[in-house]
């Protein structure tokens, strides 16, 4: 059981909040991720996984880098949503980056605009598998 447990820290980098609406439903009884041994943690210091959303913005870049740098190793960055994957609707906008997942070296990507809660659970399971190989 311990092998599967994940501390997930979420990092918003210019998302429209659609991915956050969906991530928040993961705590409802329909998806109840605590049954998987997963928990959304309040500090990057407690995290194994950093989920990132949004295209990355100029004003978030420094705080995003500092947050990821604060996570103890080993950890894994997961891009959630098309913006983080690098080809969302704001790709190419003047203050948007190349995708939060691309810029922060995501090892897994969950597709969708936004991804469904089931897709998020699948993606996080894959992240847990990859992390166990680190």
């Amino acid at each position: 059981m311990m092998r599967r447990s994940l501390g997930i820290r979420h990092l918003v980098c210019g998302s429209c909040n659609g991915c956050e609406h969906e991530l928040n439903t993961l705590v409802s009884s329909y998806y109840d991720v605590t049954q998987e041994g997963w928990d959304f943690v309040a500090s990057p210091r407690h995290a194994d996984v950093v989920t990132v959303t949004g295209p990355m913005t100029e004003s978030m870049r420094e705080a995003a880098d500092a947050t990821v740098a604060a996570v103890p190793k080993p950890f894994i960055v997961v891009a959630v949503g098309d913006c983080a994957a690098g080809d969302g609707p704001w790709s190419g906008a003047s203050c948007a980056g190349t995708g939060a997942g691309v810029e922060l070296n995501a090892a897994a990507t969950i597709r969708g605009c936004p991804p469904t809660p089931d897709a998020m659970k699948d993606g996080l399971r894959e992240a847990a598998r990859k992390l166990s190989e680190y």
Partner: protein, 469 residues
């Protein structure tokens, strides 16, 4: 909805008219148009209109924010994004970060006062913002809320995009109020082209807009149960929010109603499965009513909600708060009832009102609005009768300027759009209900204790993405 533009050449007269109009009718927002054009948009019971002014080259614009504090953010944004120079604005800092650096926060200084910063990264699954508290021990004396971390350059990115294709982008500026924004945008584009929709399509749009209110208000009340310490209420509420999002998915093909309302009508995926939609709606409506009955009889929750985060009527008015925040502080404007649009001319929304301006008042307004929304959906569905919806009207966008506002979950969602002769957007400006209301949130924290910030904040539950754009 077709908006009127009144050009005023005399800068002194413009300033006087803007001040007078801000007190008389609903201020939607101000923005800089094409080089050196200033636009001040308002709403009265006959619809939206704007005062516009062409600024002579090299001349400073006259700031209004010292008399109308609600316009301070608009002026700061015009200065930062469009290079407009104002004489004596109330606050001359840029609204957002400059080259990745947030401007200095405003703090209160004095014996026994300390300052601390929270954000931009927060502990929950929430958007980014920087909050600088000035407090004496536990009591907050001043709060400066600095947003802008989701600034992607949305308005600039939409420039030059064909007005029909831009609808897909408009839907994705901010998820919490996306359907309402798509609704306002579609109305603006349609008004310029003289497109009139079939009554059934207007009914469908009303239902979609109310579903957005339902999933937001249920989520807000769940969060307000959580911040009052009642976790079973939080889980019950989050389960119902999930169910409401599933219902949005059944109604439109998208759980957050993206692309459901489009210029010319609604997407072909809307009400593709009428029978499932209606049976699910009836069950969910009953469960939401039962949840509200339990939540609003939970004595310790109500005790935590009372007297917390009081936003007085004068402050709500001065900062230009809209929506539930405005109506919980003695205001009466609900765009659906004040300047009815689409099907709201027939199916009247009843504005929910409260006076005390505390967390309790804001939650009560959302409670009453939820019940009214469920009633409106039922009544509208009865009129629609499950008949197939007329397909989307194909039309070519026409040149012009339009301002359109609809009542979203958090208040007036306004879109200002300029269409060029080739059908492309030459300027787009978005003023969200959250943009109008954020300055009031910071004010509502005064004299509250720091640990009550989540409680007070969640009773507004404003978005960031539509503010930052």
């Amino acid at each position: 909805m077709m908006s009127e533009t009144i050009w005023i050449d005399d800068p002194a007269l413009l300033r006087a008219r803007v001040v007078a109009e801000s007190r008389r009718s609903v201020l939607l927002g101000a923005y800089a148009g094409l080089p050196n054009e200033l636009h001040y948009a308002f709403l009265d019971s006959s619809g939206a209109y704007a005062f516009s002014h062409r600024l002579a080259a090299g001349v400073k614009a006259r700031a209004v924010s010292r008399e109308i504090p609600a316009l301070s953010w608009d002026e700061r944004e015009m200065a930062q994004e469009s290079g407009i120079v104002f004489d004596e604005p109330a606050d001359d800092r840029p609204l957002r970060a400059v080259a990745g650096r947030m401007p200095q926060a405003i703090v209160a200084n004095g014996p026994g006062l300390m300052h601390f910063v929270v954000g931009p990264v927060h502990a929950g699954i929430i958007e980014a913002g920087r909050f600088t508290f000035s407090s004496g021990g536990e009591t907050v004396v001043h709060l400066d809320a600095q947003l802008g971390y989701a600034h992607r350059g949305v308005e600039k990115h939409c420039r030059g995009v064909h007005a029909l294709e831009a609808a897909r982008l408009i839907a994705r500026i901010c998820a919490g109020c996306g359907a309402s924004r798509s609704f306002a945008y579609a109305r603006g584009v349609e008004a310029l082209a003289g497109v009139i929709l079939a009554p059934e399509v207007e009914f469908a749009r009303l239902i979609l807009a109310e579903l957005e209110r339902v999933h937001n208000h249920v989520g807000d009340l769940a969060a307000s149960a959580s911040s009052a310490g009642w976790m079973p209420g939080f889980i019950m509420g989050m389960n119902l929010k999930e169910r409401a999002m599933r219902l949005c998915g059944i109604a439109s093909g998208h759980r957050l109603l993206f692309d459901a309302i489009v210029p010319g009508g609604v997407s072909e995926t809307v009400f593709a499965d009428c029978a499932t939609f209606y049976s699910e709606f009836v069950v969910l409506a009953g469960e939401i009513r039962r949840f509200l009955a339990r939540l609003f009889t939970h004595r310790s929750v109500l005790s935590r909600w009372r007297h917390a985060g009081v936003l007085r009527a004068e402050a709500a008015q001065a900062f230009g708060a809209v929506g539930p925040a405005h109506r919980a502080s003695g205001g009466s404007i609900d765009v659906r009832a004040y300047a009815p649009y689409g099907a709201y001319a027939q199916l009247r929304a009843t504005p929910a009102l409260a006076k005390h301006g505390d967390v309790m008042a804001r939650c009560t307004v959302k409670h009453d609005e939820l019940l009214d929304s469920l009633k409106l959906v039922q009544e509208t569905w009865n009129r629609l009768g499950g008949a197939p919806l007329p397909s989307r009207i194909r039309f070519a966008p026409r040149e012009g300027v339009a301002v359109a506002a609809v009542e979203g979950p958090r208040g007036a969602e306004t879109v200002m759009l300029h269409i060029a002769p080739d059908g492309r957007l030459s300027r787009l400006h978005v003023v969200s209900a959250s943009y109008r209301t954020w300055p009031a949130v910071a004010f509502a924290m005064k004299e509250n204790i720091v640990p009550d910030f989540p409680l007070v904040n969640k009773s507004f539950n404003l978005c960031y993405a539509c503010v930052d754009r």
